[in-house]
């Protein structure tokens, strides 16, 4: 599903974010990417949805070399990926339903399918009853659910979440992680970067730990940190 082959990323400013990363993530996996701020977690995800290009090495998503995609085909890749962010990235003037439908509308979905499909996605995150609320009327956890619904509306085989609980209280964080786990159980590959030790330790999923841009640990059913 996702493969990184000896990938390095050096930003134009000279900052080295990733050094010689090799990683393979298979269909249906749930992977936590952990590590301190600045260890390269976000950069890793950005390479996957092609917000950044690798300086060295190859990034394969669905077997395609993302770094070699022509500019015109990037949109095609993004429609097969769901991306969720710490700051939700919702449009403040639009309702939950409109925010989800927006992703369909701007990718040329027939008007008649917009509402049913957006509603279905909202239903999957348990927010169908809040469809008419604008982001300001929703709690942080609810806003993140809307953004997950938007990410799921294209039925992507791969869901990327960059610190999805970074702005949330523990209860909401727990709810979001359970939701992501449920999505994973229905077959979607999920990659989550996080600082949330408690959740990682409870869910016991694969953990990839980054340190200074290198893979420090890659462990099945891992914990947030190696017990001392």
């Amino acid at each position: 599903m996702v493969q990184l082959q000896r990938v390095s990323k050096i930003y134009p400013s000279g900052l080295t974010a990733l050094t010689d990363i090799s990683l393979r993530i298979d269909r249906g996996e749930f992977v936590f990417v952990v590590g301190p701020t600045g260890s390269g977690k976000s950069t890793l995800l950005k390479l996957l949805y092609r917000a950044e290009l690798p300086t060295h090495g190859r990034v394969l998503v669905y077997g395609r070399d993302v770094g070699r995609l022509r500019a015109g085909t990037v949109a095609g890749l993004r429609r097969t990926l769901g991306v969720v962010f710490q700051d939700f990235k919702l449009l403040p003037q639009r309702t939950a339903l409109e925010n989800v439908a927006f992703a369909l509308r701007v990718t040329g979905t027939p008007t008649s399918e917009l509402i049913p499909r957006a509603l279905q996605a909202l239903d999957r995150v348990g927010l169908a009853h809040r469809r008419e609320a604008v982001p300001a009327e929703l709690s942080g956890g609810e806003q993140q659910r809307v953004s997950i619904a938007r990410a799921l509306v294209h039925d992507p085989p791969l869901l990327l979440a960059d610190e999805p609980t970074g702005n949330l209280d523990p209860d909401s964080s727990w709810g979001i992680m359970q939701l992501l786990s449920r999505i994973n159980l229905r077959g979607t590959t999920v990659i989550v970067t996080t600082h949330n030790k408690a959740i990682v330790d409870v869910l016991r999923q694969r953990v990839v730990q980054l340190a200074d841009g290198r893979v420090a640990r890659d462990q099945r059913q891992g914990l947030y940190a190696v017990p001392v």
């Binding site: 949805y49 092609r50 917000a51 500019a71 015109g72 990037v74 949109a75 095609g76 890749l77 993004r78 429609r79 097969t80 991306v83 990235k89 449009l91 927006f102 992703a103 701007v106 990718t107 040329g108 979905t109 027939p110 008007t111 938007r150 294209h154």
Partner: protein, 296 residues
């Protein structure tokens, strides 16, 4: 896929909505483009009139070849044929001394002094030679000098030369001015639309993330820019034609001998040119403005 017409209607609606939302900045952009187009329009109108003037004068430039006294009619005919064959000569017209005197009388009006003149007509026979193109005047005059029986050749040499030079300089200046002002207009439109784009950066970011194509993101901005250009072009065209019609009316009474292109004849080419320029400027400006915000 969204049907083409419905997608287009949506672009149109968003472009138009944004046009209304960013009121003040839009007014600023439209005004600037209007001024730029006005100047361009003045340059075009001026250029067209100069061309018109040059063309009119070109066909009106006449060379007069004076003949020596006492030529026999057969000699005159032979010279006339020879002149007609000179390259660049459009027409040759024989003017007898009597006819020349009659013309002079018409011009000066009957006066006692003229009556005295008529008794001993001092004017020679001559040919009026019309040239196909004013630029050939010098060459034709030279060739006339060598014809048998031609004593002297006169023409408005300096007027013709100056006219040719002025026309060339004016055309060049109009071109440079047009290029410079177009560049300014693009910059202004770009900056105005950049504000619109910044206001919608979040939307653009999300559109990119969820896989909207670059053209899908661009279209509303392009339409907005083209609308601004269109409005500016219509405004500038209207102002220009009104001013032109007024000026033309004034000039026609003040300087009736000056040939001007009638406002009616000017309207269509000028409006088409300005609308074309305006829409192109708007599209170019918005294209540049959006490009900076598209990361892929």
């Amino acid at each position: 896929m969204l049907s083409r017409s419905s997608a287009f209607r949506q672009f149109l609606r968003e472009g138009e909505a944004s046009f209304r939302r960013n009121g003040l900045m839009t007014v600023a952009a439209v005004t600037t483009v209007t001024v730029a187009l006005l100047t361009v329009g003045f340059a075009i109108a001026g250029g067209l009139n100069l061309s018109h003037l040059a063309a009119t004068l070109n066909t009106q430039v006449e060379i007069v070849a004076f003949l020596r006294d006492g030529m026999r009619p057969a000699e005159v005919t032979r010279t006339q044929t020879a002149i007609a064959e000179i390259t660049g000569v459009a027409a040759v017209h024989f003017v007898s001394r009597a006819e020349a005197l009659a013309r002079l009388e018409r011009r000066l009006g009957a006066s006692p002094a003229f009556a005295d003149l008529a008794k001993h007509n001092p004017l020679p026979d001559s040919f009026d030679v019309r040239v196909r193109d004013a630029r050939l005047t010098g060459a034709v005059a030279g060739a006339l000098q060598g014809q048998p029986g031609v004593e002297d050749v006169t023409y408005a040499a300096q007027v013709v030369d100056r006219l040719v030079a002025v026309t060339r300089v004016m055309r060049l200046m109009a071109l440079l001015l047009t290029v410079a002002l177009s560049a300014v207009a693009v910059i202004v439109v770009t900056n105005t639309l950049r504000l619109t784009v910044i206001a919608r950066w979040r939307e653009i970011e999300i559109m990119e993330l969820v896989g909207a194509t670059r053209w899908f993101i661009r279209w509303p901005f392009l339409i907005e820019g083209m609308l601004q250009g269109l409005v500016a072009a219509v405004a500038a065209g209207t102002v220009l034609l009104l001013l032109y019609a007024l000026a033309a009316a004034r000039l026609r009474t003040g300087l009736p001998f000056l040939p001007m292109v009638p406002a009616i004849d000017l309207a269509a080419p000028l409006l088409i040119a300005m609308i074309g320029c305006g829409v192109a400027l708007g599209a170019a400006g918005s294209f540049v403005a959006v490009r900076r915000f598209l990361s892929t």
